[in-house]
Symmetry: C2
Subunit: 398 residues, 2 copies
């Protein structure tokens, strides 16, 4: 292993006394982000004003930062662009994929997908009308459900609750074999796994950056379009910055070159600056090392919890190839248990109805954190520390 | 006049030697934004981590900040929500308006509209198919073109090039009289005019915040839905944060309460924090004073330029009721003239083919700035200072 994870851990400003196992929901603050963002505000916006779009390179940021993401998902530079939210990018990818496969009407997804993906697909098929439909099956039935009626598969690689990982290569191959296109959501993959999208021959992919890529709350999303489609798709969300010549202010839309056409409106520069600075942590990280370390930490956490807390039931697959970078356990009192953990500095999260979710993120979590978290969880379970009124009162959870 | 515009001017950090007449493209940095954003990064994201969504009030920001915008566009609290870009909000408003008027198929707009609005409408009608179409007429023909085939009008109140202002009340009334709905784009209105949307009975409105509201590059957009429609519309962009209960993670979409349903994905918190801080400048500003001061400054600028530079031809209407908060002039050498001005600290911008555009923004521009800008422009014109190779080489303009 060539990656120095002690060095990456030192690049984060984590609060004292906190073991942060929720980087799969919101990544922590990397050192250097505050200072870089401060400079962008004061020296770029403040001093350059409108000229920052050229002088500070703001206009090119969606593509330039996209290239940095490209390496982390296993695709070539020039195939990824930043902007909007993941939900918007799902809509964009689906609309384009459907248009590339005009004789078919079915979007296939699974019930383990993140609900927003299903909601956006629902909104799209309602807007399209004309017999378009969203078909959902159980996660384990996806492969068999890809038939000759399916226009596009829309699958999130790693289940946000269970951490189960789909077989991207097999599903994409099956989709292509049946004449369908494959759209992948990498929300819990980018920065978490050894993503190899080009190798899997994926058609479209989308993802967010505020989880394993640590861009901060509401960081911009990304979209990947396979080069074979990039000059063919006509975006449904045809905004001016995806135009061939935005500053010609033509009345008619003409899609821009390749991936540039997937841009929509004015990009969120402040969030992009935070992301750009946060990506510096990845400079010396290899994806193979990241994946090995993630599996090692997750194995250790699962083994520790199962030995210490037999009341908790693992829901994440033990099989490495079927697992993302998190471990989830069921318990009827999951909500209260998580509150008790958070009160003791172990931050994971809870997903209804009964799932305790822990993200194992190699950039800043090490074996010592894993052992400490297990010990605190054991203490909470052994002494029923969760059984207090203040832990059972449900606030809105994120 | 009760508003103290010397006080608001003191709330901005403008670079020395710059007269900034491009706040209609990107507003300058208000004092306090850098510090507030720095705290959000370090104390909220850095220390609260995932709990910031509740503890720091991030989750409610789109509605809370929307309420602050509401006052500036003349509508009630609870009718505006922040998020995405203006282009996305245009799509959202149009899709909703069309669905409320299902027997009709025409979006009516004008050729003076900002191109992205036309492009987004084009993308929407292509996605809808089924005979939906975008019809554009000349700006002066809008009122007469609203007939019984029109489902929805999509008009930008102030023309981004000429500064011509449409009659919002008359067009909206005509639309309603003919059975159409009215969508208004406030890109050059919010923070620039005495907007009174509720008084005009507008159905939907959208706008950006990085111009006259000074939220910084890529600041979030807003959308207003009239209360009479808010519980009826079913969003086409049905993201999870517009769901009735986002954290129930239901598989089926159910629209949230009222304006909340126009939320889509995870909101851009860092950009929202910058906007929230920037809105503090407005605390003691009345819209009537803002409008009076804007007209006064624009009159002074127009009179000064016409007296000093007869070669420049005014394209902005002289009539106050037909004018936004900018003054535009034509000259065949407009591009080079603007470059020469910028080199001398007067920052306006250029819009092809021949328009020099100057934003008159009362919050930080005063009579002294206007006189100084006119004097510099006179110098540039009198001595043909624009006629140098370095001013004629066209870079990408924003």
């Amino acid at each position: 292993m060539t990656t120095d994870f002690a060095a990456t851990k030192a690049m984060f400003d984590l609060p004292k006394g906190v073991i942060y196992l929720d980087g799969n929901s919101l990544g922590p603050l990397p050192k250097g982000v505050a200072e870089r963002l401060g400079r962008a505000v004061t020296d770029e916006w403040g001093q350059m004003l409108i000229t920052g779009w050229n002088k500070a390179g703001w206009m090119e940021m969606p593509a330039r930062v996209g290239d940095r993401i490209a390496r982390l998902i296993g695709v070539a530079p020039g195939t990824v662009v930043m902007g909007d939210t993941l939900s918007i990018k799902v809509y964009q990818a689906l609309a384009s994929a459907l248009e590339l496969n005009p004789s078919r009407r079915v979007i296939l997804s699974d019930t383990g997908n993140f609900p927003s993906d299903l909601y956006m697909a629902d909104g799209l098929v309602r807007t399209l009308g004309q017999g378009y439909t969203l078909r959902t099956v159980a996660p384990e039935d996806v492969l068999d459900a890809i038939d000759e009626t399916v226009a596009v598969t829309m699958i999130t690689e790693v289940d946000y609750r269970t951490g189960r990982r789909h077989d991207m290569k097999a599903i994409t191959a099956r989709a292509h074999q049946m004449g369908a296109l494959a759209v992948w959501d990498l929300a819990h993959s980018a920065g978490a796994l050894d993503c190899a999208l080009a190798d899997c021959d994926v058609d479209f992919a989308v993802g967010c950056t505020y989880k394993y890529l640590n861009s901060g709350p509401g960081g911009p999303a990304f979209i990947y379009v396979a080069p074979r489609h990039a000059e063919t798709v006509r975006p449904a969300l045809s905004g001016w910055l995806g135009h061939e010549s935005p500053f010609a202010f033509d009345l008619d839309y003409r899609p821009g070159r390749g991936i540039e056409r997937m841009r929509v409106g004015t990009p969120p520069i402040l969030q992009l600056v935070a992301l750009d600075a946060a990506l510096d942590v990845w400079a010396d990280v290899t994806l193979a090392d990241l994946r090995a370390r993630s599996l090692h930490l997750t194995d250790a956490f699962i083994a520790g919890v199962e030995a210490a807390c037999p009341e908790l039931t693992l829901v994440t697959p033990r099989d490495h190839v079927m697992r993302g970078s998190q471990a989830s356990f069921r318990h009827p009192e999951g909500y209260a248990i998580m509150q008790a953990l958070i009160a003791r500095g172990v931050i994971g999260d809870f997903r209804a109805p009964d799932i305790l979710r822990f993200g194992l993120t190699p950039l800043y979590i090490d074996e010592g954190d894993v052992q400490a978290a297990v010990a605190i969880l054991k203490d909470v379970m052994d002494h029923r520390l969760w059984d207090r009124p203040e832990y059972r009162t449900r606030a809105k959870v994120t």
